[in-house]
């Protein structure tokens, strides 16, 4: 089936080549980092996690969001999603692979990665994260492969796949819950130690993921003859709208408990994010951009006139995606380390190395998603002829 990814138009190949260029630069910069160490990053003794782990966290959300098409389609038999369910599953596969790569490039001793399985440590949330992510990848590969295969042959999917699909629904919730536990169980980092972290992670996931799917569907409409349909795209954007409202609501809850109680351990991190701390304002413009984009996107999504217009909808979905990326992929991790447990503000900013390696990983993800979408759409076209 994969051979379908090897034929395409001039534009398809141009896109592939662009991705390959970014992948190569990522690989080259990773080799540098591999030989010289993480000293090439902006991370430090006090800000021990940075851009890589933030991207990992953000992408776990994108991966989990596949459940927002799988659930209505398989559990509620919502037929409108029949065309895009496979796109959601393929998006999840690409996103999980990116997650794993981001963890890998963040490791000080990447060649020892299998120590995680040689010395399994059930007390560590990281152990459970590895299991849930690996399992989720496997589930999505099996499900998408079997359903696409039967679609190709024009037969009904085998019965045994149904329980696996049902299993993938709570599993998707679990990957982001466990990722939240990675943070929220640390007494040393009051900014993360919040019970709302897992629900908020899920809300951001179910906003950013479907928003990205809408963007991809509208893109596919432009670059291929595949159109997901007006109805399913509208449904996706309604899901994104609800999730975005929940996300903003959860953020306000977080702000209230932290700021009204006024405990410095909690409040100072928010001060750092939104107003700067000890002369460090590095994230302030980004956090306010995120806030403005969130409000702007909600205005567009909540106004039927705009939401029903695919041009405005595209802008709204890009705003949702960017707003959440700035919050989760840039602010959330660094703010947990600033101020440090000793009350110091140590500046962090990703270096060129971190940026180009991350770009490389995103390109690998896009490459996988492109190839898989190509396969899916070619099978569809064949079947419809």
């Amino acid at each position: 089936m994969l051979e379908k990814a090897f034929s395409g138009s001039k534009y398809y190949w141009t896109w592939i080549i662009i991705l390959l260029v970014f992948i190569s630069s990522g690989v080259i910069f990773y080799l540098r980092q591999f030989t010289q160490g993480l000293t090439l990053t902006g991370m430090s003794r006090d800000v021990t996690w940075g851009f890589y782990i933030a991207q990992f966290t953000f992408l776990v959300g994108v991966a989990a969001s596949a459940v927002m098409v799988v659930l209505p389609y398989y559990l509620h038999n919502y037929k409108q999603f029949s065309k895009i369910t496979i796109l959601g599953e393929f998006l999840a596969i690409g996103a999980v692979i990116m997650c794993m790569l981001f963890i890998f490039v963040d490791m000080g001793q990447p060649l020892r990665v299998f120590n995680m399985f040689l010395y399994p440590s059930p007390a560590s949330p990281m152990f459970w994260d590895a299991i849930s992510l690996g399992g989720y990848l496997l589930l999505n590969i099996i499900i998408s492969r079997v359903s696409l295969d039967s679609e190709k042959k024009g037969i009904k999917p085998p019965k045994w796949i149904k329980p696996i699909i049902i299993l993938s629904i709570p599993w998707a919730i679990s990957i982001h819950t466990v990722t939240a536990f990675l943070y929220s169980g640390l007494a040393a980092r009051p900014f993360w130690m919040s019970a709302i972290m897992a629900p908020r992670f899920l809300a951001t996931a179910f906003a950013a993921g479907p928003a990205l799917l809408v963007i991809l569907c509208l893109l596919l409409k432009k670059v291929s003859n595949f159109y997901a349909g007006y109805e399913p795209i509208q449904k996706l954007s309604i899901i994104a709208t609800y999730a975005m409202i929940l996300n903003v609501f959860f953020l306000l809850l977080e702000l209230f408990t932290s700021l009204y109680s006024g405990i410095p351990d909690h409040a100072l991190h928010f001060q750092f994010l939104y107003f700067g701390l000890d002369g460090n304002y590095s994230l302030v413009p980004f956090m306010w951009t995120s806030t403005i984009l969130a409000i702007f996107s909600l205005i567009l999504l909540l106004t039927p006139k705009f939401r029903k217009n695919e041009k405005w909808l595209l802008i709204a979905c890009i705003s949702v995606f960017l707003s959440i990326w700035l919050d989760k992929g840039l602010g959330m991790v660094v703010a947990g380390f600033t101020p440090s447990p000793l009350g110091k503000v140590i500046p962090y900013w990703p270096t060129i190395t971190e940026f180009l390696i991350s770009l490389g990983i995103y390109s690998i993800g896009l490459f996988i998603i492109t190839a898989l979408y190509k396969v899916a759409l070619s099978v569809r076209r064949q079947v419809s002829i």
Partner: protein, 264 residues
């Protein structure tokens, strides 16, 4: 069943994956060697006499003997770069070391007084719990240990430590071009570390094994550091101090039960 190339690859991959999990299940549920030291109730701890330490330091234009001794015998690299700094024992201003003791009426001079910090060797260490490879663990005698050959460098323990006691080797401590660049006086009785692993104070477990005191305790000219087994029935010196004098610990409210006590 007809086997084509794709089926073959799939079955081979699945078999391989199942093989991996088998090994893993064995590890997870298999018996571990827990018998060792089960009967020992030894519990190492340290008391830092802040007054003595600070007075001696002030009278002698600063004293860093403990820090220098530790750096020397543990081959701790000096990078001259705050971000990459590796430190097992170091000094921090009182207002940072005891951030939870916030009191803005306290004389700024006292707030700025240096406090000696090191790993607290907690009774309930949050760092060991999060380690995904058990590369750091609490020994039966209370020492929180590190295995530098198992550590994968994920730095989760550093995120979990509320005291900033852990350091990471962001770059190669022994510069390949010039091995003496960052460790100018190599101590050949102790290993150097490799880049990409976490390290921290181990209460000089290598010296304890030879019935020697931790290096910092031994070299302290002010006798400001007291070290010993807090559960020793024969020698109650540590217990007596903790019972009779007022000592504080860093962030005890987190439930980590630090075993480095500060006599004030």
């Amino acid at each position: 069943m007809k086997i084509n190339r794709r089926n073959f690859l799939e079955i081979a991959g699945a078999t391989f994956a199942i093989g991996l999990t088998g090994k893993y299940a064995l590890k997870l549920f298999g018996s571990e060697n827990l018998a060792e030291n089960l009967t020992s109730t030894k519990r190492y701890a340290m008391i830092v006499n802040l007054q003595k330490c600070q007075n001696y330091s002030e009278l002698n234009n600063g004293c860093n003997k403990c820090i220098l001794a530790c750096n020397k015998i543990h081959n701790i690299p000096q990078f001259n770069n705050q971000k990459e700094e590796i430190k097992w024992i170091w000094k921090e201003e009182f207002k940072h070391a005891f951030i939870e003791q916030e009191n803005h009426y306290l004389d700024p001079e006292i707030q700025a007084k240096p406090v000696l910090l090191l790993c607290n060797h907690c009774d309930n260490p949050p760092c060991t719990k999060v380690c995904p490879t058990q590369a750091t663990w609490k020994r039966e005698d209370g020492i929180v240990m590190m295995d530098w050959h198992r550590c994968i460098g994920c730095r989760y323990c550093m995120a979990a430590c509320p005291y900033g006691s852990r350091s990471f080797n962001w770059k190669e401590p022994r510069d390949p071009g010039n091995p003496r660049k960052y460790i100018n006086d190599l101590h050949d009785q102790f290993p150097t570390r490799t880049r990409g692993v976490v390290e921290k104070c181990t209460f000089c477990e290598e010296r304890l094994a030879k019935n020697q005191l931790p290096a910092c305790v031994e070299v302290c000219p002010a006798n400001a550091l007291i070290f010993g087994d807090i559960n020793d029935p024969k020698n109650k010196q540590m217990r007596d101090i903790l019972e009779k004098y007022f000592t504080i610990r860093r962030k005890p409210e987190l439930g980590t039960k630090p075993e480095v006590h500060y006599l004030i």
